[in-house]
């Protein structure tokens, strides 16, 4: 087992992808092993819900691995998988934003009861034991400050300073101009500094 792991470790992502394309299930598992933690961590910090982050991470890997033939080896596999994951998170956050836009309830509700049932309950949410665990996982002030950032800023700052990706790669992943990525990261750091200064006071 250890020697098997060592053999995989000596292979580049591109080489593992080639083995996966040839039908080796172990190669698929190796790609998952390499990227499950960073992709999940990015998604968890993006959506701040463990179960949802796992679903999105699963969706990301299933989508990427089922389309492994369309992966172009001249690009980094990490960029590709982060790009798919980030798109899944941004799509989800946009959908959620649309769903929670109305404080008066769902626009699809037809009766007053349905409106009441779907209305956004500000401050009335009871914290479940699972939420408590998640709050501990993402409990630090810095985590809270990151959670309050705009999703685009959040992606950029996490990819830059947690994943250590260069600006150019982030720009390629997020389909943004390089200058925009730099601006987002600069603004994100500014907002984090202000949030944390506010918390300190």
């Amino acid at each position: 087992m250890t020697s098997g792991r060592t053999e995989w470790a000596s292979l580049s992502d591109q080489e593992v992808v080639l083995l996966a394309r040839s039908g080796q299930e172990a190669a698929y598992r190796e790609l998952i092993r390499r990227y499950e933690r960073p992709v999940f961590a990015l998604l968890f910090r993006m959506v701040r819900d463990r179960e949802l982050a796992e679903d999105l991470a699963q969706e990301t890997f299933v989508k990427a691995l089922n389309a492994i033939d369309s992966y172009r080896p001249e690009f980094k596999f990490s960029s590709w998988i982060f790009k798919i994951g980030n798109n899944a998170a941004i799509d989800h956050l946009r959908r959620r934003e649309l769903d929670t836009l109305s404080l008066d309830g769902s626009p699809h509700a037809e009766t007053p009861e349905a409106m009441q049932a779907t209305a956004l309950q500000i401050g009335a949410r009871q914290e479940s034991p699972l939420d408590t665990v998640e709050a501990k996982e993402l409990g630090g002030a810095i985590e809270a400050a990151i959670g309050a950032l705009r999703p685009e800023y959040r992606s950029c700052i996490l990819l830059r300073h947690v994943e250590g990706r260069p600006y150019e790669e982030i720009a390629e992943m997020l389909n943004l101009p390089l200058g925009t990525v730099k601006t987002y990261i600069h603004r994100a750091r500014n907002e984090l500094r202000q949030s944390l200064a506010h918390l300190k006071e």
């Binding site: 598992r29 998952i32 961590a41 389309a67 996982e137 810095i142 990151i146 947690v162 730099k182």
Partner: protein, 202 residues
């Protein structure tokens, strides 16, 4: 520490400072400028905190759940067929197109069979007419070929050879020997090398 005149740090200089690649003149500026130094330190504090965030892990069965939904290609299957199958089932739209084409093909086949069964006499007469026309065309072609051969200058020589059975047998034997020699030479040329090639065992 004073507040020097001239431009102060921009985010690019902050990034360079964080990466340890700040140019010397900006480093000298930083030594003199309290505002830029405070800003740079605050940025470093934020970056340090973000960089120190723990790497979170999904549930232990995550890989199994992913693999349950991944179609690992069969190494013995034809790749183009697999790719086609995956493309067909990739989106609802491609699936709808594939289903439409299948329905169209099966429908036209069923229609063709139904028409054939309902019009057997017409088909039989059409078949007979085609057979006659085909036979006539083939006969005409054969006659044309024969008359063309007869007109060739070597035809008389060939005919006289046929009139002497010994010479015919001799010519046939020489032609057979030449043919066999050609086949033997070709087999020798196309045979795989029996000697081990240097990289073959890797």
């Amino acid at each position: 520490m004073t507040r020097p005149s001239g431009p102060h740090f921009s985010p690019d200089e902050i990034d360079a400072w964080l990466a340890g690649t700040l140019a010397l003149e900006w480093q000298q500026h930083l030594d003199r400028c309290q505002d830029c130094l405070e800003w740079a330190r605050a940025e470093r504090e934020i970056v340090d905190q973000v960089s120190a965030l723990p790497l979170l892990s999904p549930a232990a069965d995550f890989a199994d759940r992913v693999m349950a939904s991944v179609a690992v290609p069969d190494p013995f299957a034809i790749r183009s067929l697999q790719a086609t199958r995956r493309r067909l089932f990739a989106t609802r739209r491609s699936l709808a197109v594939a289903a439409s084409v299948t329905i169209l093909l099966l429908g036209s086949m069923a229609g063709s069979i139904a028409w054939t069964l309902a019009n057997q006499d017409t088909l039989a007469s059409l078949g007979g007419w085609l057979m006659i026309q085909g036979g006539q065309a083939a006969w005409l072609g054969l006659r044309g070929l024969a008359s063309n051969v007869i007109e060739q200058p070597w035809y008389d020589g060939l005919r006289s050879l046929a009139n002497h059975p010994v010479r015919l047998a001799l010519a046939s034997a020489m032609a057979s020997l030449a043919y066999l020699g050609g086949v033997f030479t070709l087999r020798r040329l196309l045979a795989l090398p029996t000697q081990q090639v240097a990289h073959a065992g890797m």
